[in-house]
């Protein structure tokens, strides 16, 4: 078992939690794991059929927008030095803006629709995808580009046959960060104002001092994050099968 150490740490952590929660005995502040699970089971239909699809929708739309616009911007920056010089510093600086503080403004702009949540998700997933893809596109070796030139290759040939495959591993690194952040983004978006979604549900339960029901959707959110991460890893390993052979 290659992940034995991680599993052990998780088991120890969860045991301490269970033990601590029982000793503490205030379920509205720190529910025990068993209480959370029981509450999850009671709420499973509401959580999985009513709120999960809403959050998933936000995540999927947000990620799709980030992937399309992020890679497009990365390609533009790598092919036009002028664009890179103008936009790269701005892109980095944009990460200094506390997005969580900015989020209420999206509610102001987009109202309580799905788009205010999507906007938060896009804002935090856009950066890792763009920067990683850009770094990947610029990581090509000059010697190989020159070799392509001696074959009479056009810029398009070099881009599709060299730059894109070179950038793919970097793109997937960006994706792994982005899918994890997308769950956070969607949840934050929902806190600020929503009628449905796991983040919204968790916050609503907080006002009712139902500790176990606050945690139950958080576990579902974590599972979504882990699931997305595994998906990206599987696609990565399929696409970059050659890496295992070199």
């Amino acid at each position: 078992m290659k992940n034995a150490a991680s599993l052990l740490i998780i088991a120890v952590f969860l045991s301490i939690w269970e033990l601590g929660a029982r000793l503490y005995g205030k379920a509205f502040i720190l529910p025990s794991l068993i209480q959370i699970f029981i509450r999850f089971w009671e709420l499973k239909e509401v959580l999985l059929l009513q709120h999960l699809p809403v959050t998933l929708m936000t995540i999927v739309i947000g990620l799709a927008i980030s992937i399309i616009s992020g890679t497009a911007l990365a390609v533009l920056m790598s092919s036009r030095p002028g664009v890179r010089k103008a936009l790269y510093p701005i892109l980095i600086a944009s990460q200094m803006i506390p997005i969580i503080a900015l989020a209420p403004i999206f509610v102001l702009w987009f109202g309580y629709t799905i788009w205010s949540k999507v906007a938060v998700t896009v804002l935090i997933t856009f950066f890792p995808i763009t920067v990683n893809t850009f770094d990947g596109l610029s990581s090509g070796k000059k010697e190989i580009q020159e070799l392509f030139l001696t074959m009479g290759a056009s810029k398009k040939d070099i881009f599709y046959k060299y730059s894109v495959p070179t950038a793919l591993p970097h793109f997937f690194s960006g994706m792994k960060v982005a899918v994890t952040l997308s769950v956070i983004g969607a949840a934050i978006g929902e806190w600020l104002g929503a009628q449905a979604g796991l983040g919204y549900f968790s916050r609503r339960m907080m006002t009712q001092f139902d500790g176990a029901a606050v945690f139950a959707p958080i576990f579902v959110l974590s599972a979504v994050g882990i699931g997305l991460f595994i998906c990206v890893t599987i696609i990565e390993n399929r696409t970059l099968e050659w890496r295992s052979k070199n």
Partner: protein
């Protein structure tokens, strides 16, 4: 085949590398360019392939003056520069794909050549699974598949171990005789140059104004033993002495 006519090359920094250099290579010749590091070997290569343009003078390829040279010369770089995400077959197909052939046609054309180049059975392997010598064979095949009769080999065996290197030299000579291509071969190894070449151009002085040209007095086919003849040993001694005088300790 290839002619340099009064070619000068100066870097943007004002550093002059070539100064009115002229030479001529005939079809089917095997020419080595030998010189110490920084003597201008790679500048000549960049000029021949068309990656750089001369500051003065003209370079003509197969009689065509000043035509675009990119894509007209088969180039085999010092490191194999194989693409790790392409299999051996796909790597070899690259120049054909660049030339506009579709993947299937390219494969059909390359497949039979793999055997001929001693690469049979490796077509679905990735470069990382091959030894250094095998990778250089792929790189050479890729240069040949550019479809050009002038091949430029830039110290192709310098990263190989001594034994592999010797067998690769013999392999290269066989391939050259079979395909009747013209080879311009860069090396800093005197013995390698003597074994392989018809003529050797030695770079001296900086900027380079002319080559010291040596005709190798050996018939083909050659064997390693030919290198041990008295006249060859003298020639080798002479070349090494000249090269050494270029190195400033």
């Amino acid at each position: 085949m290839l002619a340099f006519d009064d070619v000068s090359f100066t870097y943007q920094s004002g550093n002059s590398i070539l100064d009115h250099l002229s030479f001529n290579i005939l079809p089917g010749e095997f020419i080595s360019i030998i010189g110490v590091s920084g003597s201008g070997k790679s500048t000549i290569f960049r000029l021949v392939t068309g990656l750089d343009e001369p500051s003065e003078g003209t370079i003509s390829l197969e009689g065509n003056q000043n035509s675009l040279r990119l894509g007209k010369v088969g180039y085999m770089p010092q490191q194999d520069l194989l693409l790790p995400w392409r299999t051996i077959l796909e790597n070899a197909c690259l120049p054909l794909e660049v030339a506009g052939l579709d993947k299937k046609a390219a494969r059909e054309q390359v497949q039979p050549l793999l055997e001929e180049f001693g690469l049979g059975g490796t077509e679905h392997n990735y470069p990382g699974e091959l030894s250094g010598g095998m990778k250089q064979r792929v790189a050479f095949l890729r240069a040949v598949l550019s479809g050009n009769s002038l091949l430029l080999l830039d110290e192709p065996f310098s990263a190989l171990d001594a034994i592999t290197r010797l067998s690769m030299q013999e392999w290269l000579i066989n391939q050259w005789e079979k395909r009747k291509s013209t080879v311009l071969f860069i090396t800093h190894d005197v013995e390698e140059a003597l074994f392989l070449s018809d003529r050797i151009f030695m770079l001296q002085n900086k900027p380079v104004t002319s080559f010291v040209e040596i005709e190798v007095p050996l018939e083909r086919p050659r064997t390693r033993n030919d290198l041990h003849r008295a006249e060859m040993l003298d020639l080798k001694e002479l070349l090494i002495r000249k090269l050494r005088s270029e190195v400033t300790p």
